[in-house]
Symmetry: C2
Subunit: 192 residues, 2 copies
DNA sequence: CGACACATGTAACACGTTACATGATTTG
DNA sequence: CAAATCATGTAACGTGTTACATGTGTCG
């Protein structure tokens, strides 16, 4: 293999489509619909992206067009053994911590505290109020989806948990910043 | 602008480098070192990527090479007004919820529950034990960095908070799955 | 000398994203 | 008929990632 990325390889869509193809062959529009039925309101999926991804999956030998277009011009794709293997591997092994994208917010705050002229606490507060408002829309959204729809509920929960964690983290940062200012530079704030 | 992405635009490195250039001109290796000094052990930065990104920033008019290579072949880059403006905008506005990458784990679990033949609870448990072990390494790592090093402490905290939230979420998913199995299909598990 | 760190750079690729073109079918 | 929806596809770009080439300086 030449494609051995050490971390930060995003393949959510690819794997998601593979999973949707597991029960049986499907076509593009159907995949978009089913993908959004589960992860839906959270992460809409541009239809163009479905076809791009299908193309790349076919090129990679993980899926193949099921013969000719079906009854009415719809092109149906099916998993190949290779694709089925990759899917099994995806489900079978946990997602590595190192394979996750860099957290832009963490980087931003790290940079904010070490960049002169930037008030890190303002950054924290702006982010916090934004997080609180998304928390509200998420809880509003959650009551609209029935408990039985496991996939959707779980996805929304994951967003809620992530935002809540972000708020807690921001609060801790606030505390750290407050403490650092009062202990380190007691009267430096008077300057300028 | 032609580049108006609606969501999922990753620009952590770009903005990170811009921030590092704010105090004054710097060269590639130095930027790598300083970037890792803050976000360090969490997200190492390939040196090649620094040069790629610098090149793209220069092409985009956000930075420019400071005349000739300095005393010893080192090429120093500085912010342009445009770059400074973009940086101010980055610090000044919160990171949008929609601009975050899709959570692969959430998608995976959503797919797991709707894919026949896949035991979602096994996926949950595998992920959970992996999360617990990364939580351990993170807490081990945290004690090695001094409290005064705000940036690094905050970055590690952000990882810890994220993993803790993941564990809580996984536990909730476990509960939901257990409940769904006992209420929905009481004896279906006997089949096959 | 040989190994290693410092330093710059390029080429190639994978993935995500959108804009655009094209047609068939349905429906007010 | 016109508009909306269904359906497929392509071209282009931005960002992240790595592998590789190249050279300098230092130190055992």
């Amino acid at each position: 293999m030449d494609t051995a990325y050490a971390y930060s390889v995003l393949m959510s869509i690819k794997h998601g489509l593979l999973a949707l193809l597991a029960p049986g062959p499907k076509y593009g529009y159907q995949l978009k619909a089913e993908f959004e039925a589960a992860t839906g309101s959270a992460w809409p999926l541009n239809i163009g992206q479905v076809y791009s991804t299908l193309q790349r999956l076919e090129k990679g030998g993980q899926i193949e067009a099921d013969g000719v277009p079906d009854d009415d011009g719809r092109v149906v794709y099916a998993l190949t053994p290779s694709g089925r293997a990759e899917l099994a591997d995806w489900f079978g092994s946990p997602i590595a911590q190192e394979s996750r994208p860099r957290d832009e917010l963490a980087i931003k705050l790290a940079m904010a505290v070490s960049t002169p002229g930037v008030e890190a606490r303002e950054v924290v507060q702006a982010q916090r109020s934004q997080a609180m408002s998304s928390l509200q829309s998420l809880t509003r959204l959650k009551v609209t989806v029935p408990e039985e729809d496991l996939a959707r509920v779980m996805v929304i929960d994951s967003l809620i948990f992530a935002v809540e964690a972000e708020v807690s983290w921001l609060d801790r940062c606030e505390a750290r910043l407050r403490k650092a200012r009062t202990t380190q530079t007691p009267e430096k704030e008077a300057v300028q």
